[in-house]
Point group: C2
């Protein structure tokens, strides 16, 4: 390869590395890595197979390129196929005639009507483990023979990006799980959790997705749903744990909890966009809710969503004074209160999500 060509490749690699490292979202990294493999190698298609760290299987999470979208579902057992061989040995492979290679796993071609001719395949690895395998398929001109170093360098950048994204994701999960464990306990004031928080979170997320909320809004919604009842810490045992209906005085104390919740979370500046969901989850469209008697559009979207999710869970689980009611009754109850208590768009999205099996009840 001429030096001009080498310089061009190196510059492309640098540009693609920046792109791959500019996100901490694993899906986005995978997409960019596949595009980069295809472009850097001047190939017809590219793919990134990731190792399932529990089973050792390789899976195609995404696969772009001309016909790549169809590859989404394929899994290779440990050691299966050329990619499996590469992952198992931690060594690269350049195959000039894939069809005659005994290791070749034909299922992908069969499912897609794509014909794999030649291939370069390198491990994506960190110091201590193999994260996956990066492939480029069907070089458009010449062969992959001179490409090993540069493709390895790309795989190295992909490994770094995936590792960073994994660390970020792990921290996020620790955060959510810890908040959930604490919130769940606060809600019941008991170290044994009942699952209300988790269910309200799941319902809220299903509604939010059905409504097409943006990523940032979904994240705020998730945290607000987890934390919606933390203000119950400010309600005394005699009210919170009472085994029957509350009298007006007790109800007034109980109804302080959205306000208390907001006060607690006001200490965390990063939760600025989460607090309105906590504070407003007992507001009603007709202004008869609490704590601020907000109306209609003045009630933040995430609060309107949590209100529906929270009520639905209250109806469909046992209460101290009655047994759980049926799903039909619950949906009927939500529908009946559209416009007064609940937002039509939110209730519709919930029913849609339920019908599309986005929610397991």
């Amino acid at each position: 390869m001429g030096t001009e060509k080498i310089i061009e490749q190196l510059n492309t690699l640098i540009e693609l590395s920046s792109l791959i490292n500019s996100t901490l979202d694993t899906k986005e990294i995978r997409k960019r890595a596949i595009e980069a493999a295809t472009r850097l190698m001047d190939a017809e298609a590219g793919s990134l197979l990731l190792v399932d760290q529990e089973t050792g299987e390789l899976f195609f999470e995404v696969a772009l390129g001309e016909k790549g979208e169809k590859l989404k579902e394929i899994r290779l057992k440990k050691g299966e196929g050329i990619a499996g061989w590469v992952a198992e040995h931690g060594e690269p492979a350049i195959i000039h005639d894939v069809q005659s290679d005994s290791r070749f796993f034909k299922t992908a071609d069969e499912k897609t009507a794509f014909i794999t001719k030649n291939m370069i395949c390198v491990p994506v690895k960190t110091k201590d483990r193999i994260l996956g395998v990066l492939q480029a398929i069907n070089k458009k001109h010449n062969s992959f023979d001179d490409d090993l170093n540069i493709f390895n360098a790309l795989a190295n950048q992909v490994a770094i990006a995936i590792e960073n994204a994994n660390l970020y994701q792990e921290l996020r999960e620790t955060f959510y799980s810890t908040a959930q464990a604490l919130a769940e306990t606060i809600e019941k004031r008991d170290p044994y959790t009942g699952g209300h928080t988790k269910r309200v979170m799941n319902y809220s997320l299903a509604i939010g997705r059905a409504m097409g909320l943006l990523k940032k809004e979904i994240e705020d919604l998730k945290l607000a749903a987890i934390l919606h009842d933390v203000g119950k810490i400010g309600v005394r045992d005699d009210v919170l744990l009472k085994g029957g209906k509350l009298d007006p005085d007790e109800l007034e104390k109980m109804n302080m909890h959205p306000k208390y919740g907001a006060e607690i979370l006001n200490h965390v500046k990063q939760l600025r966009d989460v607090i309105p969901g906590v504070k407003g989850h007992h507001e009603r469209l007709d202004g008869k809710g609490y704590p601020d008697n907000l109306r209609d559009g003045d009630i933040p979207t995430i609060a309107r969503i949590i209100a529906v999710a929270d009520t639905f869970d209250a109806i469909t689980t046992d209460r101290p004074y009655r047994k759980a009611l049926s799903l039909d009754t619950a949906f009927e109850e939500l529908r009946k209160n559209i416009g007064t208590q609940f937002d039509r768009e939110v209730v519709d999205a919930f029913i849609r999500a339920y019908k599309e099996m986005e929610i397991v009840l």
Copy 2:
């Protein structure tokens, strides 16, 4: 510049980019960026100045190279010096004779007896803001004239790495702050916080650092200190909020809280190494603590640390049945109980940290 030289530089850039992007620790990124700038530019020294996003000032956080360590304290006002000019305009600068450049800020040279001759200085920026300025000082051979593209490419990688580290750090702070807000409220069962959790966390961290704990241990300690009292959620109001000394029966209920805390956090698999600190913070070296009557070395280090921090805070703050006692009394109390209740190494570390002003009381 010859093509061989260009290829060598590009390969070096790729190697250094991997290194810079392989960490989410801002300090480590800065150190690696400075080493990379020096090496890639074949210069005598390098530095990375970061923008203080609040004041617009540029500051030298670290500065390696031959005499760089002395630069730690320097701050440039907005627009001051060559670096200030670069940060303000978002444009690079190559200066052949720094001493005759009117923008040159001489303080750094004066403080270090280092003589800046020539310099390449480029902005470190993301799509929407300037994070800092990367410099290389005194080219060893020739001039910086051909280096602009490659140095800009390095600065771009540094920007990506800093941005990722910032996102990770922000998420971590959100996590800690949220856990702290919830834990603090649980401890008092009141939406208005008293600060016990925060103080115990600060004392614990000071002790941990004085004992030379590893980074991972410090992180576990921090979370355990924040969460040490969350089990109090399982103690009823009549005991938790009693305004006087507890009778033996009440004390028994109160003493369930470390066990409850462990039960709550057992739901979070990522907190595996944190839980022993929560569960063991009322154990005593003589085996007379609770809940497991552990002895000496069987008590996890982080639990032994939190025990000291927790007791110290209890002594030095007002209780329902007595006023806060003096620091001298508190330290005396800790010392007196070395070997029976407390670990000598922990108490010594605490006193050392206090004397070295690592703790503000």
